[in-house]
Symmetry: C2
Amino acid sequence: MFKLSRMTDYGVVLLSSMAQRPDCLSTAPDLADRTMLPAPTVAKILKALAKGQVIVATRGAQGGYSLARPAADITVAEIIAALDGPVALTACVDGSDDNCSVERLCPLAGGWNRINLAVKAALDDVSLADLISECGMSDPAFGAAPGITLQQ
Amino acid sequence: MFKLSRMTDYGVVLLSSMAQRPDCLSTAPDLADRTMLPAPTVAKILKALAKGQVIVATRGAQGGYSLARPAADITVAEIIAALDGPVALTACVDGSDDNCSVERLCPLAGGWNRINLAVKAALDDVSLADLISECGMSDPAFGAAPGITLQQ
DNA sequence: CAATACAGTACTTATTTAGTCCTGTTTATA
DNA sequence: TATAAACAGGACTAAATAAGTACTGTATTG
C-alpha cells in the first residue's frame, strides 16, 4: 500500500493541537495528554519537527514548542520531509540520498523523476491550515488520536 | 521515507521488458532470466499484475503473459494499484479498505482526501510508455535489475 | 542549585514486506 | 490420452523497516 507513515499522521495531529493555541507554548507531556498519544513517541516526533524547522523549541523550565510559522505557511510536504525524510519515490530521483549505481544507463530514471515532481507539487500545495480548516474544528471530540490513526 | 515498494519497481521493470516484445508471450521464467530478478518473486508479481488486468495470462504449454493494452494506455496508478493496493495515503480517504471508526468527527479527513486525489491524479497522468521512452531504450545494459533497484 | 523541559542517541520490539514453496488447474503436443 | 509446460492461489519463513522506549546530556527559569 502506497501510504504515509504513522509518524506523519501523528505529526499532523500534534501540529493541529498546537495550532489551536497559537499564543502559548505546548510542552511534550502536555501534547501527549491532549492527543492521547504515547508520551515518548510524542517527544520523538516533536524533536524531529523542531529539527525540520516546522516548530521552534524553547528550552528550560516554562519552555515548550510552538509553530515556526502560521499554519497557512506550513506545507504538508514540509511535515513529511521532517518526519520521513524528503519525498523521493525511488532512488533514481534528483535529491535522493543514495543514487543508484548505473543511473546514467537507467532509462526509467527520467520518468520516475517526473512522477516524483508531480507528487511533490501536490504535497506542496496543501498547508496545515488547509488540512485543519476543511471541516471546521468545532467538534469537542477532536484531539483524540484514534480518529486519524492510520491503518497499517 | 515516502516511497514506492520494491514490488512496484520490479513490476515496472518486468512490464518494460514485456513491452519490448509486444508480439509474443513472455513466460515467468523467461522474464526472470531477462531481468535477473529471482524467479519466484517474478512469478508472484506477474500473478498480481494479471489479477489487476494490467497483463493477460495465457495458460498451458506455450502460454505466457502479454500486456493487456498498449504501453501508452497503462498508467502508473494502475500498476501501483495492482501490486500495492489502491493509492490511499491515509485510512480517512474515500475508497480505503478500513475506514476509521470516528470518520464523521475527524476534521482532517477532508484535507487528506484532497491530497490523496492530487497524488492519484499525478500517478494517473503518467503511462508505462512515458516511463520507458523518456530516455530511450537503446542501451544494451537495460534489462539488468540493479539499475532501478530501490533503496530501502 | 534544583526542577523543568528539550536534544541526541542507542536499543528493543512489533509490523510489514519480500521471498519461497507447495498444490492445483489449464492447455499444447507428441 | 498422457505428459510436460505454464499459470493460479494460498501458506509459510525470513529479512528489513518502522515504531516505541529508555537513558544521558544540555539549557533555562526561579
